[in-house]
Symmetry: C2
Subunit: 257 residues, 2 copies
């Protein structure tokens, strides 16, 4: 039987505000057993880019990454955000190791081909080296992964953090019994967005179809859930969608095959 591992993805908003970051570090440190933290970058990159006189261009909430912007996200996600999380976890006795996908060549990607939009140095992931990551985790290391990797030609690439989490989870699935938790601003997938008690506790492929058909799940929740089912298809045991203050593995919406 494979050992369990918990992979938690948190957005940039959580990790860039001191209070919510500290609360997350406390909660993540309390998660028992093997674990991985994947973090977003978010608005801190926009703020720093602005001060450096670099214009941030977003399309559908995603960052167009020209060369100057790549430098900013490499600094902010790979340096500032990642290392402050590492230092905070070390202070809590969690033996964190900050990584991008370039480190140990863990995540393989290529620059997104230009079609209608030139995304610049944005990467599409080809795969991840679960063996190397699993070996690090077996040594008691807790990887803290920034949403960046490289193209194999010496360039860093900006990666969507949700994708980074799903790919990391799939890569670890041959070695561990993986639970992938996506934190967002709501307590789970809700029947009524205004009613916190309307969280749907369990979604399976069958109930997902029904929820889409009757319109309960729509808009931005669809790519999130498609992403979750993609991870399950890749060998992940369970995906949880929950709030960052509810990462004990019991709350939120649990998605299984």
């Amino acid at each position: 039987m494979k050992k369990p591992i918990t992979i938690i993805k948190v957005g940039g908003k959580i990790v860039e505000e001191r209070e919510s970051l500290l609360a997350l570090l406390d909660r993540f440190s309390a998660v028992e057993g093997n674990k991985v933290l994947i973090h977003g970058g978010g608005r801190s990159a926009t703020k720093i880019a602005e001060k450096l006189g670099i214009e941030s261009r977003m399309i559908d909430g995603r960052r167009v990454t020209d060369e100057a912007t790549l430098q900013v996200v490499t600094m902010v996600y790979g340096g500032l955000v990642n290392k402050n999380i590492v230092a905070g976890l070390q202070a809590r006795g969690t033996n964190a190791l900050g990584l991008t996908g370039a480190d140990c060549n863990i995540v393989h990607a290529h620059k997104r081909p230009v079609k209608d939009i030139d995304w610049g140095f944005v990467g599409d992931v080809d795969g991840a080296d679960g063996k190397m990551l699993a070996a690090l985790i077996e040594q008691g290391i807790v990887p803290v992964v920034a949403p960046l990797t490289h193209d194999g030609n010496g360039n860093m690439l900006n990666i969507n953090a949700d994708t980074m989490a799903a790919e990391t989870a799939k890569a670890l699935a041959p070695y561990f019994d993986v639970t992938l938790t996506y934190c967002f601003e709501f307590p789970g997938v809700m029947r009524n967005p205004d009613d916190a008690s309307s969280v749907i506790p369990l979604i399976t492929p069958d109930t997902y179809c029904a929820l889409k058909e009757d319109g309960t799940v729509s808009g931005g929740m669809i790519p999130k859930l498609d992403n979750a089912f993609n991870a399950l298809a890749g060998g992940v045991t369970k995906v949880i969608i929950t709030r960052a203050d509810a990462i004990d593995g019991k709350q939120g919406t649990h998605i299984v095959q």
Copy 2:
């Protein structure tokens, strides 16, 4: 018999200029066997601080690191410089892992106590965890170390890169036969700074005394050589002082006990 390892320290100037960085990456990739690269940060942090409206304060060439400056060096050294080196080495088939001393809790340090000068978040190193680092290296990983660590209380600290290199070398000495190479702008310790052919090929404790007494070695070379003998006293086999274009282990000044 312990396996050999080569630890190379390069200054910020080498890694922040594209041409000299690429040349270094080629040469470092060509170094055979186990190896570690320690890099400085240098002027790129000053430039970015300036653009962000943060004043850089240097005393005797060392950076006073207030909270805003700490953020800049964490971004620039730990993110921009470190990850670009990692991506560049990966492109050359060298399985680099970018680290600060906070990652895997490798380097233990404390904030320098305030005496005449308040250095801010500058760290004095207490020791390094050679066991963890050796385990990573045994897996075929090539650590690329930024001159940063943490204080154990959640804060990052700015560390002198020469010190980082010496402490890393000493920590690895129980596990490897360590050669520590410091790259600087001259081809070695020279009898006559204007004559490249006057490099002193070998310095031992005895000849070091004589060189100091007759004034051949003076000024800034004395702390450099004291640092080298400190590393040797800590179990390092050999220290080499050379230029970044001469890291084949044969050139420069070799310092042994």
